[in-house]
């Protein structure tokens, strides 16, 4: 009898454990340390330093939880919307991905933070559109990045090369390097397979690039086909390293496996982590337009948001943190430790080349083009990344690749216009 009662009790306990909530989600509790979920696992050390500084300055500590697989990370954040396990702060992507979660009313409104920061000169008005949905702002910039070309300065010096002023200069430099037995450019078939597509598109016809990302142009349009043919020409000329080489791009630069690597300014962190010195070991230049007739040089721009949830465990603490994050004091630290640029115009950028591009971008010298990763809706992006991955290993298949991407785009835009 006793045993059967014990069994019944055990079942009841399990049922209670399975069905009962923890009840803590209903009443916000004051927090003194926030958890920042992010998909930038490699930056844990930098987030830790920010946590130590914020604890000292505003009495709010921060601990990062870094993921390295972004798909897994996004699935976790999406799942947290429906459970009681909610992050205090989390990184995300601007563009369609941000719009998607704002539409679900999951993201905390940061309009007040933005207004104050713009007034105080901590954020620029130009950045606001990336964070504005339906007239309100959401999240604050975790980082900003301008894309250009990192180059191995020693290799350039050895072959008498200088940063190119025109597209033809760039191709001539590539030819010189190739003839000397140096591989000019890095590219890859995984994840960052879009880099050269977006660069060639933006430098050839930035309007077409914008129309493509909103479903108003087709991947099979003649302008896009021409860009792929241009890209193929460069591959056929032997200017790229083998996309099957899995060497980390940071090491590619350091070892001189390729002389040039195109990435966002955040790649500078990889350089400083490898003890490479800007100006002596490597440099950075803005990639000239393919089409010299364009009025402004196109520069790919990205900004990654730092967000909090409308139903965060302690919404006031999360908002306080986001506000602090935008200040010059926080941004100075964030930019300096990583050797990167900042969203705050007051921050002095130590690196000369990066400081210059930030200043010039702020003065309206460039046409800033939203990075392909943020500009393209997820299902189309997935098909495109696969497609470009196929293209770099099999350049002759470019028409088939464009058709496959367009098929996915047709399907997406038929339900999302």
């Amino acid at each position: 009898m006793i045993r059967s009662r014990m069994a019944a009790l055990g079942v009841a306990a399990l049922l209670l454990a399975a069905c009962g909530g923890n009840g803590a989600g209903t009443q916000p509790r004051k927090k003194s340390e926030l958890t920042l979920y992010n998909d930038k696992g490699a930056w844990t050390r930098f987030f830790d330093e920010m946590g130590a500084l914020s604890k000292q300055r505003i009495g709010l500590g921060m601990k990062p939880t870094g993921y390295t697989d972004s798909a897994q990370y996004q699935a976790f954040i999406k799942a947290s919307f429906r459970t009681d396990v909610k992050p205090d702060l989390f990184t995300w992507q601007t563009g369609g991905m941000l719009a998607e979660i704002v539409k679900q009313r999951q993201v905390a409104d940061t309009t007040d933070i933005w207004q104050e920061a713009i007034k105080a000169g901590d954020l620029s008005q130009d950045l606001a559109p990336y964070y504005t949905i339906g007239g309100r702002q959401y999240c604050v910039p975790m980082n900003v990045a301008y894309w250009g070309m990192f180059y191995n300065k020693k290799i350039f010096d050895r072959h008498g090369l200088r940063p190119p002023a025109t597209w033809d200069d760039l191709v001539r430099a590539a030819a010189t390097l190739k003839n000397a037995g140096v591989t000019p450019f890095y590219h890859t078939s995984v994840l960052f397979s879009f880099v050269w597509f977006e660069q060639l598109m933006a430098g050839t016809d930035p309007d077409l690039y914008d129309r493509l990302s909103t479903g108003k142009a087709k991947y099979t349009d003649p302008g896009v086909v021409q860009v792929m043919e241009k890209w193929k020409e460069l591959i056929d000329a032997g200017y790229f390293m083998n996309p099957g080489d899995k060497t980390d791009p940071g090491d590619v630069m350091k070892n001189g496996k390729a002389a040039m690597v195109s990435f966002g300014t955040w790649f500078n962190t990889s350089m400083t982590q490898r003890d490479l010195r800007a100006g002596a070991d490597y440099g950075f230049f803005v990639i000239p337009n393919v089409n010299p007739a364009l009025p402004k040089t196109s520069v790919i721009f990205e900004s990654g948001p730092l967000c909090s949830l409308a139903k965060a465990p302690d919404p006031a603490a999360s908002a306080k943190y986001l506000k602090w994050w935008t200040t010059a004091e926080a941004q100075e630290k964030w930019a300096t430790t990583r050797g990167d640029v900042s969203a705050n115009p007051k921050v002095t950028i130590e690196d000369e080349a990066l400081g210059r591009i930030t200043k010039e971008a702020g003065s309206g010298k460039y046409r800033l083009v939203n990075r392909y990763f943020e500009a393209t809706p997820p299902p189309v992006l997935t098909a495109a990344l696969d497609g470009f991955g196929k293209f770099v290993t099999e350049p002759g298949a470019y028409r088939e690749v464009l058709e496959t991407i367009q098929k996915e785009a047709d399907e997406y835009w038929s339900t999302h216009q």
Binding site: V11, I101, S189, K257, P378, D386
Partner: protein
């Protein structure tokens, strides 16, 4: 006191915790996935019912053809390499002095997880990597299909031979000595002894080893995901990778669920058909 009254009316209570756990952790998610496969769902808004449209799309998707082909290569390759070599190593090392020591090196890679395995082999198979240097060739092993799947299959073999060897050795040890000795007395040895006496006696264990390998190869995921992410251009995707990519990368939860349901049906059916034949 007898056992029956102790169990009494509460006898179901004893199995209830296990039943509840299995229902909550295995059946409920499966039913939910089956439901999602009939919807359009981005993981955020409410699922929108679209009936069997995902399955119709799936059947016309050229990517499915590629992942099915790759999955079949994985299944066939697993039977020939990890299972076949496992059997070979077991048979060759079973009856010799110090055979256990001979088997140790085959066992060591089994300590690695699938993701760890892939990370270890990535610099080996990379273009300009260790394999290129050792073989003196200039091949990107992970680029062209189906060579990339075959390269990954070799990595998988490196890890799996050991455990299959171990299982086969257990099988060899459990064979009764009498029929083997009787066959020897009748003059059977070598291949004939193995083919007509040892192999039939090992059949129950072979069924288990092959059954496990069949299921493991049908759901191949981690090694492919870490080494190639199914690329370049989807050419090394398996069904499990397609399922993951559609669901979590493209945020097409409904379509990804349809792949999951199909994979479950294929795995269940293959296991059922195989085991029914073997355990008759």
């Amino acid at each position: 006191m007898t056992r029956a009254p102790m169990l009494g009316r509460f006898r179901h209570g004893y199995v209830a915790p296990a039943v509840l756990l299995v229902a909550a952790l295995l059946y409920a998610p499966f039913v939910w996935t089956a439901y999602l496969s009939l919807t359009r769902y981005d993981g955020l808004s409410s699922p929108e019912w679209i009936g069997p449209a995902n399955f119709a799309e799936l059947l016309g998707d050229p990517a499915l053809l590629t992942s099915t082909r790759n999955t079949l290569i994985w299944v066939a390759g697993t039977m020939i390499l990890p299972v076949g070599l496992g059997l070979l190593v077991a048979v060759l090392s079973y009856d010799i002095r110090g055979g256990a020591w001979f088997r140790v090196p085959f066992m060591l890679p089994y300590a690695l997880s699938g993701a760890g395995l892939a990370l270890v082999w990535s610099p080996v198979l990379s273009h300009g990597g260790i394999a290129n240097a050792l073989l003196g060739v200039d091949t990107a092993f992970l680029q062209e299909a189906p060579a990339n799947t075959l390269a990954m299959l070799l990595v998988w073999t490196w890890q799996q031979v050991g455990v299959n060897t171990l299982l086969f050795v257990v099988g060899l040890q459990s064979i009764p000595r009498e029929p083997v000795e009787a066959a020897r007395l009748d003059g059977a040895s070598g291949w004939r002894l193995f083919r007509h006496v040892i192999w039939p006696l090992m059949r129950p264990l072979t069924a288990v080893v092959v059954g496990l390998a069949l299921v493991a190869s049908l759901k191949t995921f981690d090694i492919v995901w870490v080494l190639t992410q199914g690329g370049p251009g989807r050419n090394s995707e398996t069904l499990a990778v397609t399922m993951y990519k559609e669901t979590f990368v493209a945020s097409e939860y409904g379509y990804g669920s349809a792949v999951a349901v199909m994979l479950t049906v294929v795995t269940g059916l293959a296991s059922y058909l195989y085991l029914r034949r073997q355990v008759r």
